[in-house]
């Protein structure tokens, strides 16, 4: 187990190092920098030169990279060039918003998608199965931003209601927090529930065709017992893997929904950082995203062992 953890940790560190190098290089390859953004159409050569010096952009790139890596190794992601706040603080604040959206979406998508998939799998070929497949197809086809926009406009024109536009943490005002999150979570959950349902249905139908299922039914076990005690248990491993993938996908995909509903989450932080060429924010936030992906994958791997002892490292 320890050897497994050590090997995963080493490969994770390598992935993080490579990612940071790629992000650092890509940001500098994008034309324009913060100085151009700050000066806009009033570009003054002397002022531009002074600002480049202020942000350290007049130094060779390898020196800038070495300095940043040195900071990161000491646990310091630097400070936002615009906001002046620590990048770690900005990332933590934004991540809490994104995590709240992601977990609520995951919960809702799981509660809706898994039962639908199980039902469709068990009732393969029936009208119920067809209806669920229509839902899956619609959910997977509809772009998230379109669903979000329709929900926003629909809630306004039918209910005469729209969410508040100033994000409120649950610790400050839970009611406002829920009001803000309802539509973005619904928008994301439609897609993810459809994806879940589609995946679970496929797993169920494949599993139901296996020999042991026929044998169990022939031995006189009730269909419910076979479905929920044996079949469902056997699809747990791919389901957990899928759940990890979905969580990463939600975390990565919230950028659209955060922009649509004015949520100050991680996606929007990265997007505004890229637009403003706030290098420390983009580098720090993307490094964090890479770390999250690594941790989620690690947790999924460890969960395999808990579900199926044969897979324990």
């Amino acid at each position: 187990m320890l050897r497994f953890l050590a090997s995963r940790l080493a490969s994770s560190l390598l992935a993080a190092a490579l990612s940071s190098l790629v992000v650092f290089a890509l940001m500098r390859a994008v034309p324009g920098d913060i100085v151009a953004q700050m000066l806009g159409q009033s570009g003054d050569a002397a002022a531009a030169s002074a600002l480049r010096g202020f942000f350290g952009l007049d130094r060779p790139i390898h020196v800038q990279f070495a300095e940043w890596v040195g900071q990161v190794l000491q646990g310091d992601l630097g400070r936002s060039w615009y906001q002046g706040k620590r990048v770690s603080l900005l990332v933590a604040e934004a991540f809490l918003v994104t995590l709240e959206v992601a977990l609520a979406t995951l919960l809702l998508a799981t509660l809706v998608g898994v039962p639908l998939g199980v039902l469709a799998g068990i009732m393969e070929g029936s009208r119920v199965d067809a209806a669920i497949q229509v839902f899956n197809l619609a959910g997977l086809s509809a772009p998230v931003f379109w669903v979000g926009l329709m929900l926003l406009v629909g809630a306004s024109s039918i209910l005469g209601w729209s969410p508040p536009f100033a994000y409120m943490p649950p610790s400050v005002d839970l009611a406002d927090n829920i009001a803000i999150l309802v539509l973005p979570v619904l928008s994301l959950a439609v897609l993810q529930a459809a994806a879940y349902s589609h995946f679970v249905r496929d797993c169920m139908t494949a599993e139901l065709r296996r020999e042991y299922v026929r044998a169990a039914i022939a031995k006189g076990l009730s269909p419910a017992r076979v479905h929920f005690r044996h079949v469902l248990r056997n699809i747990l491993i791919p389901l957990v893997t899928f759940m990890g993938l979905i969580l990463i996908q939600i975390l990565g995909g919230t950028v659209v929904i955060e922009s649509l509903f004015s949520l100050p989450g991680l996606g929007r932080l990265i997007l505004s950082g890229i637009q403003g060429r706030d290098y420390p924010v983009v580098q720090g936030a993307l490094l964090f995203v890479v770390a999250i992906a690594i941790v989620v994958n690690l947790v999924v791997d460890l969960l395999y062992g808990l579900i199926d002892p044969r897979l324990r490292p």
């Binding site: 000066l39 570009g43 615009y82 002046g84 926009l149 926003l152 306004s156 005469g160 729209s162 536009f165």
Partner: protein, 527 residues
């Protein structure tokens, strides 16, 4: 006896002049930030929906128009740019220019406090403008003060600006675009620049309470503000909206009290919503097509003229902003009356396809040419406009390929004078010199972004900057505009109106033509 009568008469005349000046000053004070409303009530919280978000709140180093829009509430210059583009004394109470035009003496308003609680003195004003004009500090406003040689503070209430060359537009330069008066030595402390996102240190009617990126910006009434009774509302919150659809929904459901639409036509659907009104104001912005002379085809003035003669500005405006604006010649709509060359006198304004084809043939393109037109991602009005222009130029044999690029890339191209053939959205500048000088003055004094390098135009721009007499300046800028329209380094297309949505409870909000939020100072809430 005669001497005594003369003495009395002299004293009476002096008193009358003093009274007149005081009355004028009071009248000017009353007009700061727009007209006052005698029925105004104090209190309440105002929610503003905003489609633009400032990247930071530092008025010294951050040049974005989105920043200027909001920081005018917290920071003040020596002057206020009124709706007609004239400089009205603000933190300065009065001023005098020396006979040779090389020095300005400003008498400062007394009893002005900073948000920090300190009382403003001449030393603060000297520090603020010295910091701003020093290029080493990296302010986008430094170039505007390049004619200032030194600033002196002979006493606590007087500041003297000494100039190396005459500069008739100094008062309008000391308004709100960049800088503002802040406490002496403010920038000497570490992290001072970024701390401005947490605490404001100006003298404005509102002070910063909270700025949360990608979410909200909250200003609260500054209790020690020097204009008695202002501002009327206790708090202003800017909620940053991701798009027009969200703003429409927010206005329909009374989530916001006020908001400006960047594409006026997006607000149309609110026209019949009860409890909400749409207010249309001419603006000082302008939408233009720039023609950089570094482009192989555009360096020939005949090609530029041919393009100008093929473009139907009215059709482009209708496509871009559904007609919610004014077609312009060579001056933004909000300043046309005061500074614009009369439209009938502006050359190359009406489509003349035959002449355009002849000019193209003379320039060596008898079979037309192919050119790339750049638009900016996120500037939706450009998309429909670009398609319309492509269609119009096709008629004289110019094939237009439309290319969308990201704003950061566009700004880089612009600053490095590689703009080619591009749409442009000019920010507001309330004076012709501020509008034209850096853009069109040949290097090194100007930036000449379009590589125009026109000696006569540069000479006129220098003279326009030095001159302080309005009629003479107007003559200078009229001649400049004529040359510009003839040579076509840019085609000024139209000014989009500012379409503001206001809830009924919002009273006396007067939209400033710059689009900056000056109007919130005298706005009040009826509930």
């Amino acid at each position: 006896m005669n001497a005594r009568i003369a003495g009395w008469a002299g004293r009476l005349a002096g008193a009358a002049i003093a009274a007149m000046l005081a009355t004028t000053a009071l009248a000017q004070d009353a007009m700061l930030y727009g007209k006052s409303d005698p029925a105004a009530k104090s209190g309440g919280k105002l929610m503003v929906g905003s489609l633009t978000e400032p990247p930071a709140l530092d008025p010294y180093h951050q040049g974005a128009d989105a920043r200027i829009r909001v920081t005018v509430l917290a920071y003040q210059g020596l002057f206020y740019e009124d709706a007609s583009g004239q400089a009205v004394p603000l933190l300065a109470e009065s001023y005098a220019m020396s006979a040779d035009g090389l020095s300005y003496t400003f008498k400062l308003r007394r009893g002005v406090k900073f948000h920090t609680g300190q009382v403003m003195t001449a030393a603060d004003v000297k520090y603020s403008y010295d910091y701003l004009r020093d290029s080493k500090n990296g302010s986008p406003g430094a170039g505007d003060l390049s004619t200032v040689d030194s600033i002196e503070a002979p006493d606590d209430h007087t500041v003297v600006f000494r100039l190396s060359r005459k500069n008739g537009l100094l008062p309008i330069t000391l308004t709100h675009r960049y800088g503002g008066v802040i406490p002496k030595d403010y920038f000497a402390t570490p992290d001072a620049r970024t701390r401005l996102n947490e605490v404001s240190v100006g003298t404005g009617p509102f002070k910063l309470r909270q700025f949360r990126q990608n979410s909200v910006l909250v200003f609260e009434k500054f209790k020690d503000y020097w204009q008695a009774g202002l501002p009327h509302v206790d708090e202003v919150t800017f909620a940053f909206m991701p798009n027009s659809a969200a703003m429409v929904v927010a206005a329909q459901n009374r989530r916001i009290d006020l908001g400006i639409f960047t594409r006026p036509q997006d607000a149309e659907q609110l026209a019949r919503v009860p409890g909400v009104r749409l207010v249309r104001t001419p603006s000082m912005n302008q939408k233009a097509i720039d023609l950089g002379s570094e482009h192989p085809a555009l360096k020939d003035v005949r090609v530029r003229q041919a393009i100008a003669l093929a473009v139907d500005k009215d059709a482009v405006m209708k496509a871009s902003i559904a007609g919610y604006g004014q077609v312009i010649g060579t001056m933004v709509a909000g300043m046309q009356d005061r500074w614009g060359l009369p439209l009938a006198e502006v050359p190359n304004q009406k489509p003349d396809l035959d002449r355009a084809r002849r000019l193209l043939a003379e320039a060596g393109h008898p079979n037309g040419l192919e050119i790339e037109l750049t638009t900016i991602i996120g500037y939706d009005w450009m998309d429909a406009g670009a398609v319309t222009i492509a269609d119009q130029l096709q008629r004289i044999g110019i094939k237009v390929n439309i290319r969308k690029i990201e704003l950061g890339v566009w700004v880089r191209n612009f600053q490095s004078r590689q703009m080619g053939f591009t749409f442009n959205d000019w920010p507001s500048s309330p004076d012709p010199s501020l509008l034209f000088y850096r853009h069109f003055r040949a290097q090194p004094l100007g930036a000449d972004f379009r590589n125009w390098n026109n000696a006569r135009a540069s000479e006129l721009l220098d003279r326009g900057r030095e001159e302080s007499d309005y009629a003479t300046r107007r003559g200078i800028y009229n001649e400049f505009q004529k040359i510009m329209a003839e040579e076509v380094p840019t085609i000024m297309m139209f000014s989009a109106d500012l379409l503001t949505v206001e809830r009924d409870r919002v009273r006396n909000h007067q939209q400033h033509p710059t689009g900056w939020y000056f109007g919130l100072v005298k706005a009040w809430l009826a509930e």
